[in-house]
């Protein structure tokens, strides 16, 4: 672990707040890819993703003076991204927002799909082309509702826990968990046919 990764995100942002421009560079390099992909997955338009991505970081730069360590930096960063995305949705209509509020599938407990079996995945003879699987994953991901896709991306791109996802998206932990569960179930079900 190098010196750059030794310093936490929170410390880097505090250093930037105090005038260390290099700290922001480090922080940006760490999170620019996941945040960009989050935006890209959600709005599914590179140009819009660029704009929203830039806005998120500019908001972070402007808000540095008032930043205090109250939560994990990734939670703070993705909350900014989520709010900016919501603003984008509101600006361009509420159609996309519907999926964020569509938790009709959220009836806790009952499995919608069978739990994926580990054995088939581990069988070497059933290895498929990774690229094909990756393309299928993107296809499945795009088919998810916004809220479920967001939860999935936050977990797999941002490395956030269920609690952090709930905090960043402004929902309860159970809601975040349910969204994540449904997303995983649909993706595994879709990938099962390839396995």
């Amino acid at each position: 672990m190098d010196a750059a990764t030794a310093v936490s995100d929170e410390q880097l942002l505090l250093a930037y707040r105090d005038g260390d421009a290099g700290a922001f560079d480090t922080l940006y390099r760490r999170h620019k890819g996941p945040v960009y992909r989050y935006m890209l997955r959600q709005c599914r338009n590179a140009g819009v993703a660029d704009e929203l991505f830039q806005d998120v970081w500019m908001n972070l730069i402007r808000a540095r003076e008032s930043y205090t360590v109250q939560a994990k930096f990734t939670t703070y960063l993705y909350k900014l991204a989520h709010n900016r995305l919501i603003d984008h949705y509101r600006k361009h209509g509420n159609a996309a927002m519907v999926s964020f509020d569509d938790d009709s599938e959220d009836h806790d407990g009952a499995p919608l799909i069978a739990e994926p079996q580990a054995a088939p995945r581990d069988e070497p003879e059933r290895h498929l082309d990774v690229k094909q699987q990756a393309a299928k994953l993107l296809e499945l991901l795009g088919a998810l509702p916004e809220s479920q896709r967001e939860a999935f991306v936050m977990q797999y791109e941002g490395g956030m826990s269920v609690e952090e996802i709930a905090d960043a998206t402004g929902v309860t932990r159970e809601t975040a968990k349910s969204r994540l569960r449904y997303a995983l179930a649909k993706i595994r079900e879709g990938l099962a046919s390839w396995q």
Partner: protein
């Protein structure tokens, strides 16, 4: 079988697939723009913190830019207001003499002040006989003039006086002068006196008859007949002087104010005095005064001595009836009689006439 929280943990295979599916990154230009913005913000913040004085210089300069016009405007406003104030004060000083020469509404002239301008001797006499007017007013109010009580003199005298009154009235009418009748004296003397304003005409005299006048004589010593008539005789000159001199103006209200209740003349001061004289004089005296006024040039006499409210139809007895051609000793004898009879008003009036007729007599001093 329900999914447990463990199944919600990050799946390595999905993470690997996701990583293999797309490694999308923001454009390098976007990276550069964001990093530049971050440095710019840090640089601006450090400048604002470190260069506090430099950063505050523009606002100070802006404030100073306000100081100059504001101060100039304040100086201009003060200067203009000061100049205007001085001009107004000068204007007041210049306009005061004409304003003072204007007739004082509802204030009678100071008959005591006018003799002072006429002659020192008469002024002295006037000052000796001057008494406060308020008792006079009270006396006047108390004096409801019963005609039956007022006639101390003989009926013959009344007849003679009536003749003179009629003659005087005729003369006045010939001059275009409105004569105020004794019974009507309390109606509209202001109109006859040339009132400029349309104010309701006040009562010129409360009592129409000499008797009432004589009863209040002790209290009306403030306006002795002699100085008043002298002032009347010299009125054209003194009025002109008074209108031109500011000092007379300042004195006039002081001297005239006490006389206001008695005279109640709304006309100009120069008009009020004759009215007062007319009321305080007997018919012969008025005739005499009328003859003296007639000696003046007609325009001057009319302008300077406007028509006084004349007593009139009712003959007015005088206390010195029959003494006109008598020596001073006779006058003094009658005066003594009045004193004995406790007729103070008659005595005072007789004394005033005596002083007028015999100013050099030791008793008149």
């Amino acid at each position: 079988m329900a999914m447990s929280d463990d199944n919600l943990e990050r799946d390595p295979m999905l993470a690997r697939l996701l990583a293999a599916s797309s490694r999308d990154e923001p454009p390098s230009a976007l990276d550069a723009a964001i990093l530049a913005a971050a440095r710019r913000e840090v640089h601006a913040g450090s400048q604002a913190v470190a260069g506090g004085e430099e950063a505050s210089a523009p606002p100070v300069r802006v404030k100073r830019n306000w100081y100059i016009p504001v101060s100039i405007a304040a100086v201009l406003v003060l200067s203009v207001s000061l100049v205007r104030l001085m001009q107004e004060e000068k204007g007041d000083e210049l306009s005061q003499p004409p304003a003072a020469s204007r007739p004082l509404p509802k204030s009678a002239p100071a008959p005591a002040a006018e003799p002072a301008a006429a002659s020192p001797e008469k002024a002295d006499a006037m000052l000796r006989d001057t008494t406060p007017p308020k008792p006079k007013l009270a006396e006047e109010k108390r004096a409801a003039p019963p005609p039956a009580v007022m006639a101390p003199t003989a009926p013959e005298a009344y007849a003679e006086s009536a003749k003179k009154q009629r003659a005087e009235k005729t003369e006045a009418m010939a001059d275009g002068v409105t004569v105020m009748g004794g019974a009507r004296r309390d109606q509209t003397p202001g109109a006859a006196g040339g009132m400029a304003s349309g104010a309701p005409a006040p009562v010129q005299r409360a009592e129409p008859f000499p008797a009432a006048r004589e009863r209040e004589a002790p209290a009306t010593a403030a306006a002795p007949p002699q100085p008043a008539r002298d002032a009347m005789e010299t009125r054209p000159r003194t009025e002109a002087d008074r209108s031109l001199t500011r000092g007379a103006v300042t004195e006039a209200p002081l001297a005239a104010a006490p006389v206001v209740p008695e005279a109640k003349v709304l006309a100009a001061p120069r008009r009020a005095a004759p009215a007062d004289d007319a009321l305080t004089q007997s018919a012969p005296a008025q005739a005499e005064r009328r003859s003296m006024a007639g000696a003046l040039p007609p325009p001057a006499a009319k302008m300077a001595a406007p028509p006084p409210a004349k007593p009139a139809a009712t003959p007015r007895p005088v206390v010195w009836r029959g003494l006109e051609d008598q020596p001073p000793e006779k006058w003094l004898e009658r005066l003594a009689e009045f004193r004995r009879d406790n007729r103070q008003a008659d005595a005072d009036e007789l004394l005033a006439e005596f002083r007028r007729r015999f100013p050099d007599h030791p008793a008149a001093r």
